[in-house]
């Protein structure tokens, strides 16, 4: 084979940051905020916005490790079931085992991490594809939640526990602090650490990543464990907010989480995505729900829109990617 010289790279028409997916999304977000503010004059008050933030925490916490996972080209469908399982075990260990509540919380977090770890272990050792493994554990973990709880709910937690879910700290909802801290940590890890770089490499070319000596299996194990852990944390926040534990908690979370991540610009095929994008996606989905509520559409029906958003944003991202690759 002989080489022929390549043409010069085309000169860029606009600065790189202007055409990125995240920027466009942020622009849409701004527009949506203004529109909603116009339709409802109580919308743009700080109080209301902070309350919106409170409601996004549960999905938001899980969307962070899900971003990591989808960047590597994987997926985790069991997150909703892990939320349910951890919520149940929180109540169960407190009420039936007699754990002091802090210990029950720690136990719940541990179970979540273990559930995620099991996912990661089978994915990396047995090499079951992530989609299939997490569909199986979606069933298994939900089943365990139902079996352990026998569909009985647990109530009557001590007052201090409701602080996380319902009170404000320095004027900001307590769980929102949790989310903000998690966002900052996740964003820094993904963008600025060797770990984050490893994730992008795996998503773009796992073989080359391995051949470069990167610890691919260890990275995968970590992100799935994190996913389980965050699902558990989200469960704790949820229980604190609604003051009860039930075995059907977390059902459908995987839709919200995946839609958030995909809407935020993370490609379902892997290799591309940012935490900033996920945050914007999170805000957009919440605003979407608000907008729908304003027009009288209630809770369950909003998932129609979320589902449509998921399919459409994947379509758009996929065709943009194909055009970029020159296919």
């Amino acid at each position: 084979m002989s080489e022929i010289p390549l043409p010069q790279a085309a000169r860029r028409v606009a600065p790189w940051w202007l055409t990125r997916h995240e920027t466009m999304l942020a622009a849409i977000l701004l527009v949506a905020l203004i529109v909603l503010g116009a339709l409802n004059n109580r919308f743009l008050t700080l109080d209301n916005l902070l309350n919106q933030g409170r409601l996004t925490t549960e999905v938001g916490l899980i969307a962070l490790p899900m971003t990591f996972i989808i960047i590597t080209g994987g997926i985790d469908l069991s997150v909703g079931s892990i939320v349910g399982l951890c919520a149940i075990l929180l109540g169960y260990s407190w009420k039936n085992f007699g754990f002091p509540l802090p210990l029950a919380i720690a136990f719940s977090l541990l179970v979540g991490a273990a559930a995620g770890f099991l996912n990661g272990l089978v994915i990396t050792r047995v090499k079951v594809p992530p989609l299939i493994m997490t569909i199986a554990t979606l069933a298994l973990y939900r089943g365990l939640a139902e079996g352990i709880s026998q569909a009985r709910s647990v109530r009557g937690y001590p007052e201090w526990f409701y602080f996380i879910g319902q009170e404000n700290l320095l004027g900001v909802p307590a769980q929102l602090w949790l989310l903000l801290i998690a966002i900052v940590i996740a964003g820094i890890v993904l963008d600025r650490t060797t770990f984050g770089r490893t994730l992008y490499a795996i998503g773009n070319n796992e073989t080359a990543a391995r051949f470069s000596g990167l610890p691919v299996d260890r990275a995968k194990l970590i992100i799935y464990t994190l996913s389980g852990l965050m699902a558990a944390l989200s469960a704790v926040v949820l229980v604190s907010r609604v003051t009860t534990t039930r075995s059907d908690m977390g059902i459908g979370y995987e839709l919200d989480v995946i839609a958030t991540v995909v809407l935020g610009g993370t490609s379902i095929f892997g290799g591309v995505g940012t935490i900033w994008g996920t945050v914007v996606g999170l805000a957009m989905i919440q605003l979407l729900k608000d907008g729908l509520a304003l027009t009288g559409v209630k809770g369950d029906a909003t998932i129609v829109v979320i589902g449509t958003v998921l399919i459409l944003s994947t379509l758009v991202a996929s065709s943009l990617q194909r055009r970029r690759d020159g296919v």
């Binding site: 090499k127 069933a139 839709l255 839609a259 379902i268 589902g307 998921l310």
Partner: protein, 328 residues
Amino acid sequence: MSTMAVTQAEADPRRFLRALASQEALLAIAVIFLAVAVGLYNPRFLATRNLSDVLLGNAYIAVAAVGMSMVIVSGNIDISVGSLIGVLATLSGTLAVNGVPIIVAWLAPLVAGILVMALQGIIIAYLRIPAIVVTLGMLSILKGGLISVTGGKWITDLPDGFHLADTELFGTVPMPVFLMIVATILAAIWMRYSAPGRAIYAVGGNAEAARLCGISQPRTVVMVFALHGLFAGIAALLYATQLRVIQSTVPPNLELTIITAAVVGGVSILGGVGTVIGSTLAAILIAEIASALVFIDVSPYWIRAVQGVLILVTVIADILRRRRMAGA
């Protein structure tokens, strides 16, 4: 050399027969074994009334599993079927309640099912959006759509002729069970003896090789999803005509039960292998286990955990088997 050839020739048909029958035979044995075992513990389990209730109440799952098996054999997945069945059942009931001729109310879910699933198939095959994304989105659209349209209300006042379950063929076989058996057998014959049926196995087994054999992957995928929609429609019909009312929701995670039935029935989650006879037997087995739990005084709330373990173990065993075969 010739003796070696002869003994090998003898050994293989035996081996082949064993391999072919194993999953299905194992399931049939398991069904019988479980019935006997639980029956010994609690004879009321074997009462005709109970057994027929189990079959009647779960025939629709087996029918849906037929279509799901085809989808999985072709190398895809669908998690929207549970919600679709809910929508189609409500569609059927609503039509019947509003005076539409019964036959139309029966056929409507079939047609609608084919259309909705074919649409998903087109998006997956031609727009190349991953099946999990499309069907996850569609699941939500259908589920949410159903709730907002029905408002959670159940459909009552169904006309008398509507209930298929009332019909009994040959005096003893209830219509739903009959449909389940017929659907399974017809699908099995089609998948074994028709070229498009084999094309599903080709596309799921090695899409590149299938292409070089002249089999179009996109067209096969759309066809498979359309058929899946047909069986989902039949399942919805059975579900709708089971009771005197049509509930506003289907059992939670219905799609998981259907997938479990397919996978435990021998359909490899990676595609290319499996039969609908296996999935029907597996659906019966799972229904049997659910009922058995009650009769052995285990809380029925454990059924999903049992399903979860079944699907996890089956999938891991299948992947390990594939890896061993590939490394050979």
